[in-house]
């Protein structure tokens, strides 16, 4: 590893003992010997296996559920439906006052996406649970479904989620998250060129090698130990406490060893129902997604649509940027209202633009609920923004890297959401990229600095 000391020499210490040094990973000896204990590397006598009966429909009313045959199946110990869950309607971010509660642990009266959990079967073996799950009879009345965000926002579209009442998340700022900075229309009027483009992405699955799951062990004193691969230990503990109406002191979560997450294991899905199963049966319970469930049921990165309209001058300055962003939450909020909000703050990009207008919508559709994944709310936006930057550079006949130097934010610049820029370092990164990629730029750009005024 090489530390380039020519940058920020006056703000960096050189007498650090750990930073800049290669150190062995503390978990690696366990990994290479196979001794690292992932949640599933535990085995408890009498452990039950939980399998979920899932909705085959994108949107349907549940007329009735008949679990009688499943309950009689050999090896079945317990069958759970919505009425067994103490606080069945929840939302993860209620912990930070982002409501309303809009998602069911087990479907109650309605399913809103194909794959939604309806009935949980607990049995002595995986096989018995699978066989019994196939015997649960659910009578559905199929409802019209909506899969496209713009269709969902049109008047008369089927309402996906009644807890919201409309197919978008209602922020305190209204139907979308808004950023207003300068006068964007004046900027477009002043611009030499205006370019409006639309970008969109499909959902992306994290596909961790280890699927989502947990093993719950009743400790015999009304306390439950939950071995889990969640990436969000305390979010999960607190939400479980709400869903099961059980004090957090009764819940002992053990985890931190995750066989790949990438944001796909931050939702609170398997733990509450497994703990409920352990509570109602008094037995250890294992609930782990099959590979198919991991691919089809676990939250993906949201599909997004980004419409960017830019005003640019012939000399390379971007003078106005208007962005409308759409985040497809799927049927439930999970982390998407936060993702869409993050996009609003991010869409100007790492560029200083005097006139900015941002609207970002978090939209509900009858698709698999989306959630966190590596920079969600930002990553797809960056794809759109940087493609747009290349198009703008081409439009005015400018080198795309030099075009970015002209617009790069620097320390002290006011961002559109009213946070002054500090520690930017974009100029320096681009200078290094110019050298590394052998993509030369004019000397004046190589002499610029993120934090020295007037360069």
């Amino acid at each position: 590893m090489e530390l380039r000391k020519s940058y920020f020499a006056d703000v960096r210490k050189d007498d650090l003992h750990e930073i800049g040094q290669a150190r062995p990973r503390s978990d690696s000896p366990g990994h290479v010997t196979g001794k690292t204990a992932f949640f599933a590397d535990r085995n408890f006598p009498g452990m039950l296996h939980l399998k979920m009966v899932r909705s085959p429909h994108h949107h349907a009313r549940i007329r009735s559920i008949d679990t009688s045959e499943a309950e009689k199946h050999p090896g079945v110990v317990k069958v759970l439906t919505a009425k067994d869950v103490p606080h069945n309607v929840y939302t993860i971010l209620i912990l930070i006052q982002v409501g309303p509660e809009d998602e069911t642990v087990l479907a109650d009266g309605k399913v809103r996406w194909r794959g939604e959990a309806v009935v949980a079967v607990l049995a002595e073996t995986e096989r018995a649970a699978q066989e019994a799950a196939a015997k649960v009879k659910v009578d559905y009345e199929v409802l019209p479904a909506v899969f496209d965000m713009e269709e969902a926002l049109k008047p008369g579209a089927p309402i996906v989620n009644e807890y919201h009442g409309q197919n978008y998340y209602l922020y305190d700022s209204g139907e979308c998250r808004k950023v207003r900075f300068g006068d964007v229309e004046a900027g477009f009027a002043e611009a030499d060129h205006v370019l409006e483009q639309s970008y969109q992405s499909s959902p992306i699955e994290h596909a961790p090698t280890e699927t989502t799951g947990c093993i719950v062990v009743p400790e015999g004193n009304d306390r439950f130990t939950c071995h889990t691969n969640t990436q969000a230990m305390f979010f999960t503990l607190d939400n479980t406490s709400i869903i099961l109406q059980m004090p957090g002191s009764k819940l002992h979560f053990v985890g931190g060893t995750v066989g790949g997450g990438f944001g796909g294991k931050v939702d609170v899905i398997v733990e509450p129902i497994a703990i409920l199963g352990a509570k109602l049966t008094g037995r250890p319970v294992c609930f782990v997604y099959s590979r198919e469930e991991e691919m089809q049921i676990s939250s993906p990165r949201a599909a997004e649509k980004v419409v960017i309209k830019d005003g640019v001058m012939k000399d390379g300055r971007i003078v106005a940027r208007k962005v409308t962003g759409y985040t497809d939450a799927g049927a439930y909020s999970r982390h998407s209202p936060y993702g869409a909000q993050k996009g609003a703050g991010h869409y100007p990009g790492p560029y200083t633009i005097p006139n900015v207008w941002i609207d970002t919508y978090c939209v509900y559709t009858n698709r698999t609920p989306s959630s966190a994944m590596r920079g969600f709310g930002v990553t797809i936006g960056d794809f759109a923004l940087e493609v747009q930057m290349d198009k703008l550079a081409r439009l005015i006949g400018m080198d795309p890297l030099e075009f970015r130097f002209i617009n790069a934010y620097r320390d002290g610049d006011m961002k559109a959401h009213r946070q002054p820029t500090e520690g930017a370092a974009l100029i320096e990164c681009m200078q290094e990229a110019s050298r590394a990629a052998n993509w030369p730029v004019a000397e004046k750009y190589m002499a610029m600095s993120s934090y020295v005024k007037g360069t």
Binding site: K51, T125, R127, Q130, E131, A133, S290, R291, E292
Partner: protein
């Protein structure tokens, strides 16, 4: 009901046990154990046979008889089956090739079953206790097959007459976008005198591209010569749509890849 395995010394005895409802034959396990793991509760019993004939490879007189339990890895490393090695190596990664059998590959639904595509182009005969059937007939009715496949037999192609291509997005091991196998005979003037073309992923099972075969006869293997065959390549196909590619995409790229294979560019 749990999944139980019964082992028999002969294929004949295993055939008898297969008559029970919910029973499937266990070859390398890459299809049937996978299905059971994914919760396919229609599989309740497994049957296998340790009959040595199922594991034999007999080469002689330009022909080969391959026992149904022979694995892809065994074919790939057999000194006299060099012509088939590329197709055998196209299946799975190293571990899968140590397990996946010739017999199982005949039943693998698209996008799997790349080796069966090669066998179809090579006009193999599929053997059961009832005798041998042409592979084309066998594949068409494979869903109803209740008899254990014991062998495949074929005439070994000359190295220059057989061509195989598997197209995948991930290298070196990825699931097929499509696979193509071609057996060509050329006259002295270089024109094609006979052609058999088999396609994988262009239906739920390997299929012949008969229109393209016909369009190649009498033509030379250059861009103009093969153009009619490429135009006809998709005739009669019903490509699958899966996470790897849509039916539309497969139909679009089939002529591209067939062209590369015929021109020796693949």
């Amino acid at each position: 009901m749990a999944l139980a395995l019964q082992t028999f010394a002969t294929a004949k005895d295993a055939n008898g046990a297969l008559k029970a409802a919910g029973t499937r034959y266990l070859g390398g396990g890459t299809l049937v154990v996978r299905a059971a793991n994914e919760g396919d509760v229609s599989v309740s019993g497994l049957v296998r046979s340790t009959d040595p004939a199922l594991s034999a490879i007999d080469v002689g007189g330009g022909k080969v008889r391959i026992g149904a339990s022979v694995t892809m890895a065994e074919i790939a490393r057999h000194p006299e089956l060099g012509a088939l090695a590329k197709a055998a190596r196209a299946v799975g990664g190293p571990a899968i090739r140590n397990m996946a059998t010739v017999g199982g590959n005949l039943f693998a639904p698209a996008p799997y079953g790349d080796f069966a595509v090669a066998l179809l182009a090579l006009d193999a005969a599929v053997g059961t206790d009832d005798g041998e059937r042409p592979i084309e007939t066998f594949l068409a009715g494979r869903g109803d097959s209740r008899a254990i496949v014991t062998s495949v037999s074929l005439t070994l192609p000359r190295a220059d007459s057989f061509r195989f291509l598997k197209v995948s997005r991930v290298k070196p091991k990825g699931v097929s976008v499509l696979s193509i196998a071609v057996v060509l005979e050329q006259a002295g003037d270089g024109t094609v005198s006979s052609a058999r073309i088999a396609l994988g992923c262009m239906a739920d099972r390997p299929v012949r591209a008969k229109a393209a075969e016909k369009a190649l006869i009498g033509r030379t293997l250059d861009p103009d010569g093969i153009a009619p065959a490429l135009a006809a390549a998709g005739e009669g196909t019903a490509p699958i749509t899966d996470p790897i590619a849509s039916a539309w995409y497969r139909a679009e790229v089939l002529p591209v890849h067939l062209g590369r294979l015929l021109l020796g560019l693949a």
